[in-house]
């Protein structure tokens, strides 16, 4: 029973879960009226993308991609490339978050709020 569940999760479920996570983030970005929450939802979305890459980097019977004399065949390691890519992607998302927080600080300074309605009201003033 657990094996079937594991198999299902590993083959399809994990992707469905990441997809749900992705759209959860997207939903948050569109529906939240607080800019900070929008930003956090954005991070959730980015994390979902990262999960997605990491998931398809896995395989049964593979180990950490660090070269070991005892394991001469390439098939015995998992693919390191998605991890390397995601390191970059994490850096990018960190950068984006940094810029976004800087912008939010400036918005808070100028408009005194991070609530969308409040800001829109003050912009028109």
């Amino acid at each position: 029973m657990t094996d079937t569940l594991n198999l299902f999760l590993a083959e399809k479920g994990v992707y469905i879960l990441t997809l749900i996570l992705f759209f959860l983030g997207l939903y948050g970005m569109i529906m939240c009226h607080n800019y900070m929450k929008k930003l956090m939802s954005m991070n959730v979305m980015q994390v979902a993308v990262i999960f997605f890459f990491l998931c398809f980097g896995q395989k049964f019977g593979g180990t950490v991609p660090i070269f070991d004399e005892a394991l001469p065949a390439a098939a015995m390691y998992i693919n390191p490339l998605p991890h390397a890519l995601m390191l970059t992607a994490i850096v990018v998302s960190l950068g984006t978050t940094g810029v976004a927080i800087a912008l939010l600080m400036r918005i808070k300074e100028t408009f005194g709020s991070l609530e969308e309605e409040e800001i829109l009201r003050r912009v028109d003033e």
Partner: protein
Amino acid sequence: MSQHFPVLIAVLPLAAALISPLLSYINRNLGKWLVLTAIGGSFISAVNVLLTVLSTGTPIHYYMGDWPAPIGIEFVLDPLNATLATLVTFVALMVGVYGTSFLADADWLKTAGYYTLYGLLTAGLAGMVITGDVFNLYVFLEISSLACYGLIALGGKKSVLAAFRYLVIGTIGASLYLLGVGYLYGITGTLNMADLAERIVPLLNSPAVYIAIGMFIVGFGIKMALFPLHGWQPDAYTFAHPAAAALIAGIMSKVPAYAILRFFFYVFGADSFVISTGLEIMGILACCGIVLGSVMAIAQQDFRRMLAYSSVAQIGYVIVGFAIGNVYGLIGAVLHIINHAFMKSTLFLTIGGVQYRYGESNIYKLGGIYSKMPATTVAMVIAAMSMIGLPPTGGFFSKWYLVLGAMETGQYLFIFIIILSSLLNAIYFFRVIEQIFIVPDAKLKEVNKPKGKLELPWQMVLPILVMGLGILALGFWNEPIVTNILNFALPEVLLR
């Protein structure tokens, strides 16, 4: 040295951008000139590469750290993207020189910040054009986007809000692209474009490819403000820092369009069912965008906002060119990327000049500006004519090829839309021209009085005139561009 030119195009501005804050701390001008010199060097490299590619006729492959493709990251420069790299760096150089006068009185931190972001933007855009690796494209896309958010935020109070909104939407676009890359990597196991193009052939009809293509369309659609994903653009362009708005408006939204061209025609191949369906959908969306963007532009009072809406329409031309899908259509699309870079930049440069001197960008307060700023007005009029698509300016010729392509394939809807759009363009640009020439002098207060005899500092007049006359030059010499560069690069795509 010369074999490293391809990489220098992107690396020079990138490195300079990172060093410039340090130098700016020592002396405000050092950082500024470092970045500008680096962009200049990048332009020279791009020209050099372009000439080499044209003379040898074979693309240059540059392998990062000598790791051959498909394992390493490679830069591929064929006539098409070498041209675009030249274009990007040239416009960046011109706008960079132009920007100096806006920052003449800024403190070191602001100068450093501006030029760092500017260098990063240039590096990102140039990198996106020349890279041959799909993930590398994502990195450069994000570099340019982040720099762009910063430059927009520099524009003032409202601009921060516009920048944040753009950031949120832009990140969705970039994430979708990354997800699409994930799908492609998952089924092919490669990130190199040329390699991908080979491996994808048997898999073209798999659902994964469909999803990836859908994600690319939405992702790049957001980045290039394709209708209906253009919501962020008007605010972003209107409030962007006037020194950088020209580069952002002229190049930023066109490079993703180029990426679409790369993917759809070079990687996937336009003859497959899914791509042609995708292009058809994009073509219809583009038509809606052309009409809606033009109509919205007519409704605007702020010159920059009008230009932003007109960008929504102009990107439609490029996409329509892709959707037409024959040689003429693609030539028209690429030519329009080049032309639009020149004309939209010129318009933003000129209105930036007016803003610099009078602090005004409302169309209805430009009365009689022609006698106060003749050179600016000349450039503005040329650019406006080109936007409408009147000969002998460059804009006419991209339209010519588009209409020719559509006529050849019998897509009369596109012809109708292009003609309609020209007329709508004429309405909103002649409205401006009427204001400039007919309406009596508006009482404008001078914010910055230029010192010399010129209407603006020479750093501004020079780029305005070079870009403005460049539009005419593009009109007169479009045939060499088409036969030597575009014809050279495009047909092989369509033969696939």
